[in-house]
Symmetry: D2
Subunit: 101 residues, 4 copies
């Protein structure tokens, strides 16, 4: 089962700046070899369900190891069985509609 | 790693009523033996990370088997390492604060 | 436009315990007179769109006033035009499906 | 109160393809004059709270007008009072951390 997720990991108890923790998650995601795109409020990742979810778990583990005592994550999870669809296809589909009258 | 999640599975391409699909997810959650509480916009589930995430995957699989070609899920995921906390503890903590002046 | 939301306000920069801030939001919601139900990972609120969204804004304002320098909120927002539906109807619909064979 | 949101509008009861409805939301957002960035699982928008929330409401109204009987939206909402921060600042902050050893 192929999945596209939007991952937003929020560490609590580490102060107001969380850039360091988010960067650590980016390194975990990068190391996984999965396709991903960071945006201003999360990161889109795609791939086989188990691989993507292993990355989400590894992010929580990494951020706890860095000293964050608590984490709250918001995750959107999209699957479809009618056809294969990748992150760039979703953006392209909307842009196609935007260009038609 | 103990986790408390809030799971909201939304099937697309099955019409406007999704109660049947949500009920199927409830049966998957119930069968897992994990603690859970349904509310009007999702279901809280808690337990070991891998068990809870296996249930989320099983919900997607079940809803696809029922004929939904596409699913978008919103999942909140909470972990903490400073102390053990259960769903009822979170509600009780807020209620304690509400009762103090 | 009637709306049912699921609101989860997360203050950052105030330490690991956020029960006091969540309780303050509950007081803001209670004072609004809108229907609501708290659960372990947020609060369902329903009513006219503008009234519910005014409460969400008032929660951010209140939590900032309490000293939280940063807030990240996750909000699910449901509207429908085919029929009137309330929070308890959603739960009842799922329970009806659970009781049929 | 300045806000950065991540908006993901999901129409139900319109079939499996929602690109047309998402494109209509993009037009609503574009017409608002607010800063925004689309990604594969939503759109980041920033600006004054009331302006951004008016756009979210206008998206629901527009998608209902197009015939969708039901909508479920997931919205992340970030505010901070300690300093001004824009979408590009958040991405730049993470990238700075990624470049340091």
């Amino acid at each position: 089962m192929h999945v596209i997720v939007d991952l937003c990991v929020v560490p609590l108890g580490v102060g107001v700046s969380v850039g360091e923790h988010v960067a650590a998650c980016q390194r975990v995601i990068e190391a996984s070899g999965l396709e991903y795109r960071m945006h201003a409020y999360g990161t889109n990742i795609e791939g086989p369900w188990d691989d993507v979810m292993a990355v989400v778990k590894a992010c929580h583990q990494r951020v706890h190891e860095m000293g964050a005592p608590r984490i709250t994550t918001t995750l959107k999870v999209g699957t479809r069985t009618d056809r294969e669809q990748h992150m760039d296809d979703k953006v392209a589909s909307v842009e196609r509609h935007l260009q038609s009258p």
